[in-house]
């Protein structure tokens, strides 16, 4: 791991306002993430895990503080620049799989490459390669509703890593999966981390996943209360 952080947050704060009610989700979070890390942000519900992931992914704007991705301040980017940054630097895995129902598994996987403007032959080649690597090549021509939840989440992981982003942000990726499928998915992501050097950041309270990460950041009430490095 290099010394310069891949992502750095400085006093990151986010407060949601509904009418007159202000709900602080993050209250000054400063953290550094390095390339190749396999990190989880853990904490009880409402601790600000998902909010942190959304801010890091450029899906939302902080109320205060800033995020630096490879040294670039995200607060200075316009909406379109943020979209471009998400497209080229960040892979997402969501709790509810979130595949596009009218696209096949192969097309879903290649979708980010299509958005990047990569030619069809190249994106098909790369999508097939990652599907084969994740053991789901046989579903390439199936639509998402024809495969199981675990398989759909594998496709979501394939889509997240196919463009080789700087970091994959995964929000409760195992929450909807049974134990065996969860283990398979965690193994798969760990393998991508070790073999490809892909950087993962999870928001989770799933112990099956927490046991496998090499760094655990704990959030409580929008503040970091722990930051442990493990050897896995």
């Amino acid at each position: 791991m290099s010394n310069s952080p891949l992502i750095q947050t400085l006093d990151l704060a986010k407060t949601y306002v509904t009418g007159d009610i202000e709900t602080p989700a993050l209250r000054g979070v400063s953290v550094e993430l390095h390339k190749g890390e396999f990190t989880a942000v853990a904490g009880p519900s409402g601790s600000g895990k998902s909010t942190l992931l959304h801010l890091l992914g450029g899906l939302d704007r902080p109320t205060d503080g800033d995020i630096f991705l490879e040294g670039q301040a995200m607060s200075k980017l316009s909406k379109d620049q943020l979209a471009k940054l998400r497209l080229t630097n960040i892979g997402f895995v969501f709790q509810a799989y979130n595949l596009i129902p009218v696209l096949t598994v192969l097309e879903n996987t290649a979708f980010v490459l299509e958005l990047q403007g990569i030619v069809r032959a190249e994106r098909i080649k790369r999508a097939r390669k990652i599907l084969a690597e994740l053991g789901i090549e046989q579903y390439a021509d199936q639509y998402p509703n024809r495969i199981s939840g675990g398989e759909q989440q594998r496709v979501a992981v394939a889509r997240a890593v196919v463009a080789e982003p700087a970091i994959v942000l995964a929000d409760e990726p195992t929450a909807n999966l049974d134990t065996a499928t969860s283990h398979e998915l965690i193994d798969l992501m760990r393998r991508l981390n070790q073999e490809r050097g892909a950087t993962f950041l999870f928001a989770t309270h799933d112990s099956r996943l927490l046991d496998r990460v090499n760094r655990l950041v704990t959030l409580v009430d929008g503040l970091i209360t722990g930051d442990e490095h493990h050897t896995n």
Binding site: L59, D80, A83, R86, N98, P101, V102, E107, L115
Partner: protein, 411 residues
Amino acid sequence: MKAAIRHIMRNRRRTILTLLAVLIPVYFLIFMFGFINSMMQDMFETATRFDTGHVQILAEEVKGSGSAMPLMRDTDVALAALASVDGIEWSTVRLDLPALASVGERTRTVYVRGLVPEEIDPVSNMSDRIVEGEFITSDSDGVVVGQELAELLDLTVGDDMVLLGVHPDTSLGAIRAPIVGIFNAPEATMGRSMVIASLATVRRLARSETVASAIVIRVDGVTGPWDTSRLDEVTAALSAALPAGYDVQGWLDLVPFVEAYMTILTPMLVIMAIIFFGLGALVVVNTLYLSVMERTREIGLILALGASRARVMGMVLTEAGIITVAGAFCGALVGVGLVWIVQAFGGIPLWGQMADYMKEMGITPVLNMNIRAIQVLLSAGAMTVVALLAAWLPARKASKLEPMEAMRYVE
């Protein structure tokens, strides 16, 4: 594109509704164009073949002379000028005189039209319109009258008609002429008021062997009411070739009610198009809004993955474009198909009051249709543009969604 087609196929009922919203206005407009074209063409044919020709050379009206239909003392100068102009397909000399027509006890005001039957018949097929008796010839003294006039004067073929010429440019003249035929006039007014005789006969009534009221001309290559460029050229050439004292008028000047119809029809069509296109556009906006609402989470995901707003807008517009183009194409197909079927059956004959009304207007009481390619393209093209403009609103809404809010959206 593939994804857009799959989206379209996903909700077929809504797709069909959107398709119909585009199809119906296109089909309707083509139908209206077909009907109006045919009606105008019919009016044009009736007017130019039976009455006005394309252009007429007339004696210039002198204000205060007491005559709104001045006569030419002779036709030599006008015919010489006509011979010097290119592009003339056909011409004939005609003499129209106002007259009183009496048969037995009954009398009516009429126009006596003097013409050269052998010249007029190939253009108007007047002899085919004779329903009783026969058509006149140049050397016959007889007259033919319309069915309506025959009924009004209670006359029949073989009766004698006394005609009293009352044109202010001529001295009073009177002739007795046998009625040799009754014709089915293409227009009711003509049927009620016109007595047709040979030019020589009517000149006797006018007590002059050279007098004429018009030289009626048909111009080469004029095919319909909107075909005016050749007419303008010939009118200008004739005006230049004729000395003072003559006037050249086009058929629309001579039957101003046709021009009035043509003037009314265009804005009428535009208003109808606006109403139908507007309704179509509302349905397109509505169905696409529904589609965007239903796919809010999916659009949020696409934005989250890094799609630009322009890309999302393009996605919605592509879907709208596919449905719109398909709808416009189907509408054009249905419209042209209907026109083709009506043409294949030779039109749909009308009856009753509608038929009478159409004859009053000088239109054959047969619902016929013809359509021009440009009108099909215009109908389909205009609706496509309107529908795409309508689709822009939901497309913009989709592109403005915030990714996380959209992904949390619950229907």
